[in-house]
Amino acid sequence: MEAPLMHLALVGTPNSGKTSLFNSLTGSRQKVANYPGVTVERKEGSFVTPLGRQVSLVDLPGTYSLRGRSPDEEITRDMVLGRTPGEALPDLVLCVADSTNLRLTIRLLLELKSTGRPLMLVLNMFDIATRRGVTVDVARLSEALGVPVVTSIAVRKGGTGDLLRRTDEIAAQAQTPPRQNLWQPLTIAQLRATQREADRIIAATVSLPAKPDTWTARIDAVVLHPVVGLAILALILFVMFQAVFAWAQPLMELLSSAFGALGQLVHDTLPAGLLQSFLQNGVISGVGSVIVFLPQIVIIFLFILLLEDFGYMARAAFLMDRIMGGAGLHGRAFIPLLSSFACAIPGIMATRVIDNRRDRLTTILIAPLMTCSARIPVYTLIISAFIPAEQIWGWMDLRGLVMFGLYAAGIASALGVSFLIKFFMWRDYAPAPFMLELPDYKLPRLKSIAIGVYTRAKMFLQRAGTTIFSMMVLIWFLASFPLPPAGAEGPAINYSLAAMIGKALEPLLAPLGFNWQIAVALIPGMAAREVAVAALGTVYAIEGGKEAADQIGQVLATKWSLATALSLLAWYIFAPQCASTLAVIRRETGSWKWMAITFAYMFALAYAASFATYNIARAFGAG
């Protein structure tokens, strides 16, 4: 008979290298989902031990204690205590420590011991500790703690061998009588006592070098400098956005022409008719126009993951804390807001690191104003159609500059809205504390970054394959039926359902310079913002024949005035119509009220900004 599946759980403080250990043990065999009822990310992976035992490993949210101050920390506590319904009680809890920084983890481990679960301490990043002159008497440490201790180098091949061997040994041991769970929330005196005990054990078993990490000190002297540090942060963000626009271009053109060729192949193979139109205009050009943006999404996540692994994200929060505080935001809001540049959904979910409810609500309300990657397709399309590819001052790309301006407008309006929220709603309220560990810098590891980017890209493609695909079919249907009556004049789409909806909305959107085709495209944009691009493609492709589908941008340049294009860009800075973002806000705040408020204020801002942009542009002769 096969050995039963063994359940392992990873517990550790933030920055303990837990995620890189998880990636190293499970590779790409990972599943990301949510815990039932809450929106905490559940990361599970699997691996096989040297003796062939199947192991399921969950990566629990990082925490300094089992008190459960936030939904994430409650999950960690409940999983370790076996209180989460439908989840197996872990057979072994791996407590992961950064070997250069044992103090806080050893205290956590002492608290974990009272839960009665079998425990193992993993001294991760042991190579870095050795290089820095930290020596650990592993045997004595294990004896003093009363739990097995292994060293590991998650980022090196074979660096987890010791850990795997010990896991097999522990699994093979005869069923030790289960120990009782004696854990109770610690009083302050007990907390202090466990920290003292931890310090005593460390003093007896670990020798630390006299000096802290010199590289971290040297980098921080520059990066955390009040003025230079902020300039570096601005530079990093600027490079990031230039990269998203410039580096991705060749790949995007390649993808775009591949889908064009595929569409042409279908066009040539199939007889003219509904099926040909459905496959070429509905499916291939629809899904293709979204998948084209994969390179940009990969680049944005690459930057975010690199900065996070390097240890820079916490520094950015430190630099921005008081500046964001001026706008009524918490320093910890910086990371969720930065993630919102990729997508507001993970950003809003990441606000769980903010434990003060009011700070969290403010962050959730403004997160959708950060320019998410789904807007990039819309921006890219319009910018390349209407903004000339010129160099300013010989080195700056005008298109890149417009892109940067759109991002800046999003950030500025987010800060403005946050300031107003603070001023009008929560005037009499003391700011919540900002307490954050600034980890030592570490060289980001290629494998860990690659797995992270791969997971995000997969999620994007799954969305493109499901939500976006079904929306594309719907739009194609709306744009194709009912068929025009026999002998009708003009393009067939003028007789379709889509035209009826668009024309019904036209009076509302006409003051913004939007025609009915734009109105049609904004409707499916509710499912996902980037669908608007595909929708425009479908609407104009069906109207103008196959030539149009290949060159949406060129078609737009002939159909729209510059004022209309700029107005649509302004609309998309706010773009209130993302249904998934609204759904996440509803889920995270637990109320329809906050969802409605978000939608209403973003719609009002979008309308006002577009109205102003359109009329100013026309006054300058761009109408």
């Binding site: 806080l104 302050i188 907390l191 310090d199 009040p226 430190f318 008081r322 600034l438």
Partner: protein, 93 residues
């Protein structure tokens, strides 16, 4: 002010008033004295969880740009960012 004298005589003061470059040892926690949004118990628990316990060596490494706030504090061999408001609860000498 008597700041030089204080340092020389190793008089107690809140870490929240310390300048960049200050180094000392935590004498006690006085969560009641800090004007924090957190309750005294919660603030004290969090400070302990981040390693701020009596006897720990601290050094102020960096300061933010607005009002020299927040501060980055080396606590033994960990660096923690805190706002001065909360650091008022840490009495150092």
């Amino acid at each position: 002010m008597t700041s030089t004298k204080q340092t020389d005589a190793r008089l107690q003061m809140p870490l929240g008033l310390a300048k960049r470059g200050y180094s000392g040892v935590i004498h006690r926690l006085a969560a009641d004295d800090a004007n924090s949004a957190l309750s005294a118990i919660e603030l004290e628990s969090r400070l302990i969880e981040l390693g701020f316990v009596e006897g720990a060596r601290v050094e102020v490494l960096h300061e933010g740009i607005v009002g020299r706030d927040p501060i980055a504090v080396r606590v033994e061999n960990v660096t923690i960012a805190v706002r001065r408001r909360e650091a008022m609860a840490i009495i150092v000498a």
